[in-house]
């Protein structure tokens, strides 16, 4: 058994849990970040979209990608 490897993996997992469960939610509550999140969510924007078809809130219509009415 690779003891050193398992130890490193455990450290990575603990770090990941601290960042994702505590740090990132705390960041999301900060005013400037919250403002951006709320604005995007109100418009239905997914900023992590990889391709234009991942933009659920936009539909191609009359030469433009427009917000769905």
């Amino acid at each position: 058994m690779n003891r050193r490897g398992w130890k490193s993996l455990t450290i990575c997992c603990v770090l990941g849990i601290i960042i994702w469960i505590f740090l990132l939610p705390w960041l999301a509550r900060q005013e400037h970040v919250r403002k951006m999140i709320d604005r995007n969510e109100a418009a239905g924007i997914d900023p992590s979209a990889m391709f234009y078809s991942d933009l659920e809130h936009l539909t191609y219509e009359k030469g433009f990608l427009r917000r769905s009415k």
Binding site: I21, A43, S48, M50, L55, Y60, F64
Partner: protein
Amino acid sequence: MLAIQAVWVIVLAGQIRNWPIAKISPIVCALMGGSVLSNSDSDPIDEITETSEQDQDSSKGWRSEDWLAVCLGLAILLGAFLCGWSTIEIGADHPWKPYVGKPGSWESNPLHSLANWPMLIGPLMLSMLGFGIARGLQGHSAAKFLIAFPAVFLLASLAYIMAGQVTVKHYNLEYALWALVVGLVISNTIGVADWLRPAVLTELYIKTGLVILGAEVLWHRLVALGLPGIFVAWVVTPIVLITTYWFGTRILKIPSRSLNMVISADMSVCGVSAAIATAASCRAKKEELSFAISISLFFTVIMMVAMPLIIRYIGLSNVVGGAWMGGTIDSTGAVAAAGASLDEVAEQTAATVKMIQNILIGVTAFAVALYWVMFVEREQNSAKPDAWEIWRRFPKFVLGFVAASIIFTLFSNLLEGGEQLVQTTVKQASKGVRGWFFCLAFVSIGLESKFSDLKKHLHGGKPLVLYLCGQSLNLILTLAMAYLMFGVIFADYIQEMLAK
């Protein structure tokens, strides 16, 4: 019952390669890109593709990875389209919608992302069935694949959950990055267990995902926005791509041409999706793709926040600013978010310019594949390739990608209600599957990479210099063209279109 039947199909597929058709049809085999003499078998896991591996793979004819990716991708697309066509009325939901999707977003409790867990069933079953059959046809053990695949799928799910945290999501740190991180952490700590390796299939996942992506590349949308769109996306994008590639090769003298090309396409076309398509077309190394995507995502976060502030500061109109951001920010989602921080007009203009660039990846992937086969590999091999050699070496999955694109463009234009049907099929069925295949590919890349391999591609920081120089040129040229087209020459025309 269905699952048991599916497993039987996969196990039986392992025998299909021995069926007479493969033995009595050498001409068919050769026409599919293979040598009729060679029947060598390889398991390429070290690089996205090396030339020698490509030779070995193409020697398998119709059982090569490329053709299997084409068949699987087109079969999934056709299945999704027919299910949509036969069972829903125009405007209704696609029947796959409840079963195909990714974990949702969450803020402080990751379990919230699994609220719609049935959405994971479709991708899991489709992947096990499709890739299981493909592995069987390639002559590998489908059973070993079926044992290993759930673990890789679990890692991909973890990557999606990490990407779904709201802060991460709204800063555009896409799942591709976290899939790489998850894979890298495992491979660099405890290592990849032997039992897991049969499901670490970077190439097959990427190529199949790209064929499915083809359905989202609808050619008639290349003329969206009319002439202004053509000038910003069609003229500036190729100029920036070619100039950046030339700069990297001739001035910076970056040793790896494929790394140079992937960074150039990633930066000038449309970020991660362009990087994936180009990397597969020019047979880039896995680490090169990881490296290009990491640089791109890092600068996307900066540009997404900074560009709206700069546009406001210099007093650009929102239409021109939107076109500028659409042509320069790499990632599509970040373009929409940055545009929306100005207003709806900027968001729509930015997203539409980016959509045209998205669609250009079809042309880019084809052109890069052809250029690589005709010129780059020719220089390396010092032999002038004839038409047959070009065909033999050409990455065939690109043909599947282009075919899917053409077929869905025709469906969209020729069928009654086709536009709506294609949009529903893509948005509610195929893009979810495509996303999973790319996520699985990035987990696989991470699992096959070592940090020491990534270091090799730093080349004294030259790739970073290449990105910065290329992006600077992109920013200047796109701003000039956006101002001319959207702010001066076609300003009234754009306003009329927006008012429709």
